[in-house]
């Protein structure tokens, strides 16, 4: 029961942070709120027995992501512009799309097995084999590590390739960027000074 109520509390907190993100106009606040969102979801992962995921989310989602956002914010305007015509239509269209898609997902979700059901198809397909055999087979107590590095090593290799490609993309996009940013900044400061 404690798991249930902690879950409810954390979910309420997540919805609250989401509302603040939608409402806030200052981008620094938005970025920090996103970091908070990641941290609260990391707490929720602990509550749902996913400790490995929790510390990865806390380190990568709440840590590195926020640092990346803040580093980018150094070159970006700190405030979102508020006055714009025709945004009411976009908001209504977005609301219609989100509510429609959300209703479809809810209709699908209530058909899913109950949360925590040990006989749900997700729990009885391959997971028991990993849990029962990996200990005597590979002698690593942490099953998540075993599956990640051994049973699904190729997946992890693919992940590394994706991260490498993304890093390469960032490098190509930002090569010579700081120089251009500095010169444009100097130009704009010159214009402001006049």
């Amino acid at each position: 029961m404690a798991v249930f109520w902690t879950n409810i509390l954390l979910l309420v907190l997540l919805v609250f942070i989401l509302g603040l993100v939608i409402k806030t106009r200052r981008l620094f606040a938005v970025v920090i709120l996103a970091g908070g969102y990641s941290l609260v979801s990391a707490a929720m992962f602990v509550n749902l027995d996913a400790v490995d995921v929790a510390f990865t989310e806390a380190a990568v989602g709440a840590g590195i992501s926020t640092v990346l956002f803040l580093a980018a914010m150094a070159y970006l305007p700190a405030q979102e512009k508020t006055t714009r015509p025709g945004s009411a239509f976009t908001t209504i269209a977005a609301l219609v799309i989100c509510v429609g898609a959300g209703l479809l997902l809810v209709m699908a979700a209530i058909e899913l097995p109950a949360i925590g059901d040990p006989n749900a198809p997700a729990q009885i397909h391959v997971a028991p084999r990993y849990l029962e055999e990996s200990g005597s087979f590979l002698h690593i107590p942490n099953v998540v590590t075993t599956v990640l590095a051994s049973y699904r090593g190729f997946d992890t290799f693919g992940e590394t390739v994706v991260v490498f490609t993304a890093g390469l993309g960032v490098l190509v996009l930002l090569s010579g960027f700081t120089r251009t940013a500095r010169s444009t900044k100097r130009d704009s400061e010159g214009e402001d000074g006049q």
Binding site: L11, I97, G102, G116, G135, V147
Partner: protein
């Protein structure tokens, strides 16, 4: 316990997580600021992670780290592995998105979607005319 209350008790996480997902999607569609769009994307993503981890939860279970005792119920390790991969890929895509936003800001001096579109529309028409007139001049 039957009816809507039972459904709520059975799938409490799924329902709230769907609200969070749609909130993230709403930010991506409705907000014009590119940084805020990326934050919305990150929120969408984290909500999907929460969904997966909820699927893997076993009632009365514990973290899938093997113990000496034999009568222990472990939660499903497979979603955990998938989401570990997804988190790292997620931060890579966020970095790429931020790099794109930085280049867009350097090129247009704005990170508001509607302003950039207006600028592009304004810039593309004269260039087309200029190209047409220069080709006519060459003939």
């Amino acid at each position: 316990m039957t009816g809507p209350l039972a459904i709520l008790a059975d799938s409490w996480n799924y329902l709230v997580v769907i609200c969070l997902m749609m909130g993230g999607l709403f930010i991506v569609i409705s907000q014009q600021n590119l940084v805020k769009k990326l934050v919305g994307l990150a929120i969408f993503q984290t909500s999907v992670f929460l969904f997966y981890i909820s699927v893997g939860k076993v009632a009365g279970g514990t973290a899938p780290i093997l113990m000496k005792a034999t009568d222990v119920a472990y939660s499903n390790p497979l979603p955990h592995v998938l989401i570990l991969t997804a988190i790292v890929v997620g931060v890579a895509t966020t970095a790429l998105g931020l790099a794109l936003v930085l280049r867009i800001n350097a090129a247009f001096g704005s990170i508001e979607d509607d302003e950039i579109l207006a600028m592009k529309a304004a810039a593309s028409v004269p260039r087309a005319r200029r190209d047409a007139s220069s080709s006519e001049g060459a003939q």
